[in-house]
């Protein structure tokens, strides 16, 4: 049985920064089952390397300021290349977590993706901006595609939602 780990990162007090947490909540309702674990956190920390090493598919979800609001971007991610990394104890990014999974637990998931949604505002707020809210169905459908076997080349942007 393929085990999937979905890791959402965001701050619930910072407007669009919480979009991944919203996605995680919807995914928990939609994807109940022992083969899928949905994890939400304010930041990704080194302790996640261990559960990541036990999964076959990892999907990282985050907000992004790199893309225009509502733009859904997905790329496959691989373990960070190289050695001698100054380990951040407060937060890690997906390639570093995959490297830690591989080096610390001798196993990394066969497939890993980072899905980000371009965000409009990270100001103090409990709500998402309109373009980001509108992007949620497309993001969910994209995640479902990954779950059903879709693959992506590294660092390729997939515009699924017009800003």
């Amino acid at each position: 049985m393929t085990h999937t780990l979905i890791l959402a990162c965001g701050n619930p007090l910072r407007g669009d920064d919480a979009v991944a947490l919203h996605l995680a909540r919807l995914l928990r309702e939609q994807l109940a089952g022992p083969e899928i674990t949905v994890h939400s956190a304010q930041q990704w920390t080194p302790e996640l390397a261990e559960p990541i090493s036990r999964c076959d598919l990892a999907i990282f979800l985050d907000a992004s300021s790199r893309f225009s609001p509502g733009f859904v971007h997905c790329e496959s991610v691989a373990p960070l290349v190289g050695q001698g990394h100054a380990l951040l104890t407060h937060s890690c990014n997906p390639p570093l977590l995959l490297l830690m999974s591989q080096q610390f637990y001798t196993r990394a998931p066969q497939r890993a993706f980072l899905l980000t949604i371009g965000s409009q505002s990270f100001a103090f707020s409990f709500s998402l901006s309109s373009p980001v809210q509108r992007a949620i169905p497309q993001a969910l459908s994209h995640i479902n595609s990954i779950l059903s076997g879709a693959t992506y080349a590294p660092s390729v942007t997939h515009a699924l939602c017009a800003p």
């Binding site: 080194p46 302790e47 261990e50 001698g84 990394h85 100054a86 380990l87 104890t89 407060h90 830690m100």
Partner: protein, 475 residues
């Protein structure tokens, strides 16, 4: 002969520190300063807020020890309400505090200090990180990650989330513990105890390689301060304050944390934003004292749980009186992890822990309240005053790291005098000075830990103030 150096805080960078060393005409270090250049201002901007918001505002001070602030703040609010917290809730809060200490100590020891301890102070800096630990002793590294993970799991299981949880409220906690959650937590204890026992065995052998560091890392007489229970055990969640001296003699005992202004003074120095608390009867700076794991194990009459008690006896046998070297903060931290695990297990096995009566309610009954608890780094005190509407009019926080400020400054001077003998800084010297600070595990202005590498700026000055050498380590 020395020259005063003015440091402007350029930005509010979390965990930012700077060290200045001053040399005399013989090129030997004559003075050392540990500067914390950030400013948080929590005591000011909480003014005007309702007191019941304080636990959740104040825990935002820190991402590593939010639970400590949450508890100290909730206890100060309990005092404002003059409420009696239900017994089950007291125990649940205690478990939360112990879990906080467990996860924070695991971070400090395994992530931040183990690279030095395993690979050596002179190892290639590129290798001195958790990856280096994993390459050289994967069992040690994986064990550390598991311990931190377990501490965080306990916090998340009880309080909803790992960082900045709610759950603790003035008067108790807002949800009882279920049987399922209790059993889940209990199931993790045996593995965690095995990890820490193995780590203790490894550390005790490793200590032999660090005799010089043990001798010179803030190894001097000071007082020690901490909370102690009425039967002489460490009082992590509550207790009375005790001071002992370097001979292990009790200097003051049964002091109420609520009366801290009667025995703690707070000095300020122009070179740092952190305060310098001192034992008031001895004056400043003679009233220097240390808090945290080393102090707690020096203060108590016994440890109180079976395995930790054995380790504590062995620890205290290191020296005839109090254990003075701050290098042994590491050792004390490991023993405290063991104590936390055993104590959590005791509380979880207590049938009362499942009681559904977990919160008492009351209106505002006092206009002033003090809350204190042992945070991972030492005694944490929150002190609030409110108006009759319950709005905060004044707040004072004494953060655990600040208690150690005098000792940290004196400690880097001791280490620098020993290891710096020329006008040229070496990586090994830099790392040893850094490691003195790291042994205390400071949470700078309690905003954050530094990353694996403490972002340091070390300046070596000649007697006339000329800059001889400078090394910067970015965050």
């Amino acid at each position: 002969m020395g020259k005063t150096i003015t440091i402007d805080p350029v930005t509010r960078i979390e965990g930012h520190a700077k060290i200045t060393l001053q040399t005399d005409e013989h090129g030997e270090v004559s003075n050392a300063y540990f500067h914390v250049t950030q400013f948080r201002g929590f005591e000011k901007f909480c003014e005007g807020r309702p007191f019941y918001e304080m636990p959740y505002l104040m825990e935002r001070i820190c991402g590593i020890c939010p639970v400590s602030h949450l508890l100290a703040s909730a206890k100060a609010c309990d005092a404002l309400l003059a409420v009696r917290v239900p017994p089950a809730s007291m125990k649940l809060r205690r478990i939360l505090n112990l879990a906080q200490i467990l996860q924070s100590h695991a971070l400090s020891f395994f992530y931040l200090s183990a690279p030095d301890l395993l690979l050596g102070m002179d190892a290639d800096p590129k290798e001195r990180n958790l990856f280096g630990v994993m390459r050289n002793n994967p069992e040690l590294g994986r064990g550390g990650i598991r311990l931190r993970q377990f501490g965080q799991q306990i916090i998340e299981t009880l309080a909803g989330k790992r960082i900045h949880p709610g759950w603790v409220v003035p008067g108790g906690v807002n949800e009882p513990l279920t049987v399922q959650k209790r059993d889940f937590l209990l199931a993790g204890i045996p593995e965690a105890i095995q990890i820490i026992l193995k780590t203790l065995r490894w550390f005790k052998k490793t200590m032999e390689s660090f005799r010089e560091e043990i001798r010179t890392f803030a190894n001097f007489p000071t007082l020690f301060m901490g909370l102690v229970t009425p039967d002489g055990r460490p009082g992590y969640y509550d207790g009375a304050i005790r001071f002992t001296d370097s001979f292990g003699k009790i200097v003051a005992d049964n002091l109420s944390p609520a009366h801290y202004p009667e025995f703690l003074g707070e000095a300020v120095e122009p070179f740092t934003f952190t305060k310098f608390p001192y034992y008031l009867p001895f004056g400043y700076p003679d009233g220097i004292y240390r808090v945290g794991p080393l102090a707690r194990l020096n203060l108590v009459d016994r440890c109180g749980t079976p395995l930790a008690q054995q380790e504590w006896v062995e620890f205290r046998a290191l020296e005839r009186h109090s254990v003075l070297s701050s290098f042994h903060y590491h050792y004390a931290r490991l023993i405290e992890i063991l104590f936390c695990l055993e104590h959590i297990e005791e509380f979880l096995n207590d049938p009362e822990i499942l009681s559904t009566h977990v919160r008492s309610t009351a209106s505002l009954n006092n206009l002033e309240g003090v809350g204190a608890a042992e945070a991972p780094r030492g005694t944490l005190i929150h002190h609030y005053r409110v108006d009759e509407q319950g709005l905060i009019t004044w707040a004072n926080l004494i953060i655990a790291t600040n208690h150690n400020n005098l000792a940290m400054n004196r400690g880097i001077l001791q280490a620098a005098r020993h290891f710096v003998r020329s006008d040229k800084l070496t990586e090994g010297m830099l790392n040893r000075v850094e490691a003195v600070i790291r042994a205390f595990d400071p949470c700078l202005s309690c905003s954050t830990h530094a990353d694996g590498h403490l972002p340091l700026h070390i300046r070596l000055l000649a007697p006339d103030g000329t800059l001889l050498d400078e090394t910067k380590r970015p965050s």
